[in-house]
């Protein structure tokens, strides 16, 4: 692989990480803490929405973020032939 490939791979990775961490911060620090009171005026069943994000929603989102990251990175690895399954053992 060339240096440009390595650079592109890394920059794409950084972009994924930046977007996913922005969502990570939004659901936890944003919805669960800073915006908890306005969101609590919205109700879903017995839950006030802000409280739900703080005790349930943020955790589901965290799991989802890692799943998305794994899928994106596996695809990126294939595109740049980074898959290390065969190598190094």
């Amino acid at each position: 692989m060339t240096d440009t490939d390595a650079r592109n791979y890394w920059l794409t990775n950084l972009r994924y990480v930046a977007v996913l961490l922005a969502i990570w911060a939004t659901v936890s620090f944003g919805f669960g803490i800073l915006l908890v009171e306005p969101l609590n005026r919205i109700r879903i069943g017995g839950f006030q929405l802000g409280f739900w994000f703080a005790q349930q929603g943020s955790i589901y989102t965290f799991v989802l973020l890692i799943v998305v990251y794994v899928i994106l990175m596996n695809r990126l690895d294939r595109r740049f032939a980074m898959n290390d399954r065969e190598a190094g053992q």
Binding site: I59, F62, Y69, M82
Partner: protein
């Protein structure tokens, strides 16, 4: 069968499984002892990581803390899960590619400095010893409450079990035992939760049940009822917080970053085959953890509602058996101040004097009895609590033994030590660590609760910035990293020490800097570390070419095969 017999059966059966696994998975090389030969399947590693991470605190204490803190308890839920996103995106894949055995290995090699390595070893040892003392104590409490032996004997039995599989099997034995322990602990957590959810809300899934209506035909939502009850009794509404927003933010962030910087969690990602597996394994770990962590707030709400229904304004004379059982352990206390024979259980905002004290640690253990569940469920919960405590203790003991035999002896003092000599040292160090942990379990230092804040603060203010900067900037050098770690540590230790040890009487919101509690100060320490590291590095020489080359290589997953010798 009675509760005692069932507990004996459940605990005995689970211990027999752990010992069987220990004999089957003995470690024969340092590679197997430190990282299980680096060939653990990602799902297996995810499960082992979940058990490693979820300690006596997660299993026994967390739901109880949330039951009494309500919304404020969210800091633990978000803090102790959100850290895995950081781990998966910023740390695990790169450290796996680096491919050594320990966190101090990475810090020492990346910053080409034995000073940095020793700072890292000291932090790793401190954090691990803090934690392990709490686990052994948890083992002792479960034994004394459910099996009627005294705490010392309970701790000794726990030490014996951990000693067998940690010393024989190293990481390999620990990994497969942790898988069994995860199964035991999650089953033990979910069974009573589902029972209680059905009783209270008529819904199977606790995660949905605590947002449902109460199953008494009134059509009132559980959380609304709880808000009503807690407000009426002067505790403040369950779903709103009493901590300041900035403090909640700081504590959550410190816990998240501390989690991502804990050596016993990071080291689990060295045990998988390659970078791809390290990423997916972090996902599996969080998914397995999330099962318990999304159930805990439901258990908390159910337990609080059940407790208030059972005790509030009820005659003391008609209290059920569990009440007097816990009263004899001193964890429940009742004083009839107004002499009316009723239990007045009220909060700080109420005009009526409170007559009941309840230790929040007993909520999960007492919950099945409060809800009048069958005896076998009570026995199962005891086995689950032990599984949670033992699995975490084992992971920590391994970090301690590796720090001594590998990071200190092999990498600093005696580089020429033979493979057999190193393996023997690792086993002796693990044995020594078990004894020290047991000692602290029997004679708990009074400061255990205080040092937990310190452990997370230290991990957040020291390891996390050093590791992340080491991966994401090629420019970061020894001077920057070491001064950053030292500044972050001094700041955090100073702040916590000032309020927790030197001037505990000043430890109130009014005196805190910007209203940030000692629990949350690690987040600021982390920022101090980052800032100092970047400024110092920009004014000193860049790291040598081969280190910059190393960083390039860590970033690309190709050829992530074991960077160390692994013998089958």
């Amino acid at each position: 069968m009675n509760v005692g017999a069932w507990t004996f059966v459940m605990v005995g059966a689970s211990f027999a499984i752990y010992l069987g696994i220990a004999v089957w998975s003995r470690a024969r090389s340092t590679g197997e002892f430190y990282v299980a030969g680096a060939k653990v399947h990602p799902v297996v590693n995810g499960m082992a990581t979940a058990a490693d991470w979820m300690s006596a605190a997660s299993f026994i204490s967390m739901a109880g803390i949330i039951a009494f803190a309500g919304y404020d308890g969210s800091v633990y839920l978000m803090g102790w899960t959100g850290g895995y996103v950081l781990l998966a995106l910023l740390i695990a894949p790169y450290l796996r590619k680096f491919g050594k055995y320990t966190v101090p290995d990475f810090v020492g090699d990346r910053y080409y400095s034995n000073t940095a390595r020793i700072v890292a070893v000291v932090c790793a040892l401190f954090v691990s010893f803090t934690y392990v003392a709490g686990q052994m104590r948890g083992v002792g409490i479960v034994f004394s409450r459910f099996l009627g032996v005294d705490i010392t004997q309970g701790v000794l039995i726990g030490m014996g079990i951990v000693f067998t599989y940690a010393v024989l099997g190293g990481m390999k034995g620990i990994t497969y035992t942790q898988v069994a322990q995860y199964c035991v602990l999650i089953f033990a957590y979910m069974v009573p939760a589902i029972f209680i959810s059905l009783q209270i809300s008529g819904t199977v899934l606790p995660q949905l049940g605590f947002g449902s209506t109460v199953a008494d035909g009134s059509g009132v939502y559980l959380l609304d009822r709880l808000d009503g009850l807690t407000t009426e009794l002067g505790f403040g509404a369950y779903t709103s917080g009493r901590k300041t927003t900035l403090d909640v933010l700081a504590i959550t962030m410190a816990l998240m970053i501390g989690t991502a910087g804990l050596p016993h969690v990071i080291v689990r990602f060295f045990t998988v085959k390659n970078v791809r597996d390290a990423r997916s394994s972090a996902g599996w770990a969080l998914a397995f953890i999330a099962i318990l962590y999304t159930t805990a707030p439901a258990v908390a709400a159910f337990a609080r509602a059940n407790l208030l229904d059972t005790v509030s304004n009820k005659p003391y004379a008609t209290m059920p058996a569990w009440f007097s059982n816990w009263e004899t352990t001193g964890l429940i206390g009742f004083t009839d101040h107004n002499g009316d024979g009723l239990i007045q259980y009220t909060g700080p905002l109420s005009a009526v004097q409170n007559e009941l004290t309840i230790d929040r640690d007993i909520m999960v253990l007492a919950n099945p009895e409060i809800a009048r569940l069958p005896n076998w469920v009570v026995g199962l919960v005891a086995a689950g609590g032990l599984a949670a405590a033992l699995s975490t203790a084992a992971g920590l003991l391994l970090v301690i033994s590796t720090s001594i035999s590998h990071d200190l002896l092999k990498r600093v003092f005696r580089p020429n030590i033979s493979e057999r000599g190193e393996l023997l040292t690792a086993r002796v160090a693990a044995g020594f660590a078990v004894v020290v942990a047991g000692y602290f379990g029997v004679n708990p230092p009074g400061f255990v609760a205080e040092v937990v804040a310190l452990a997370f603060g230290l991990a957040a203010a020291s390891f996390f910035p050093a590791i992340v900067l080491g991966i994401f900037t090629k420019r970061m050098n020894t001077a920057g990293a070491v001064s950053g770690m030292v500044a972050g540590l001094l700041f955090t230790v100073g702040y916590i020490g000032w309020f927790k040890f030197l001037h505990p009487e000043l430890n109130t919101v009014a005196n805190w800097w910007l209203g940030i509690s000692p629990e949350g100060i690690g987040a600021v320490g982390m920022l101090v570390n980052f800032a100092v590291a970047v400024v110092v590095a920009s004014r000193t020489a860049p790291p040598p070419m081969e280190i910059q080359q190393l960083v390039e290589e860590i970033r690309l997953p190709r050829f992530a095969g074991p960077g160390h010798e692994v013998q089958a």
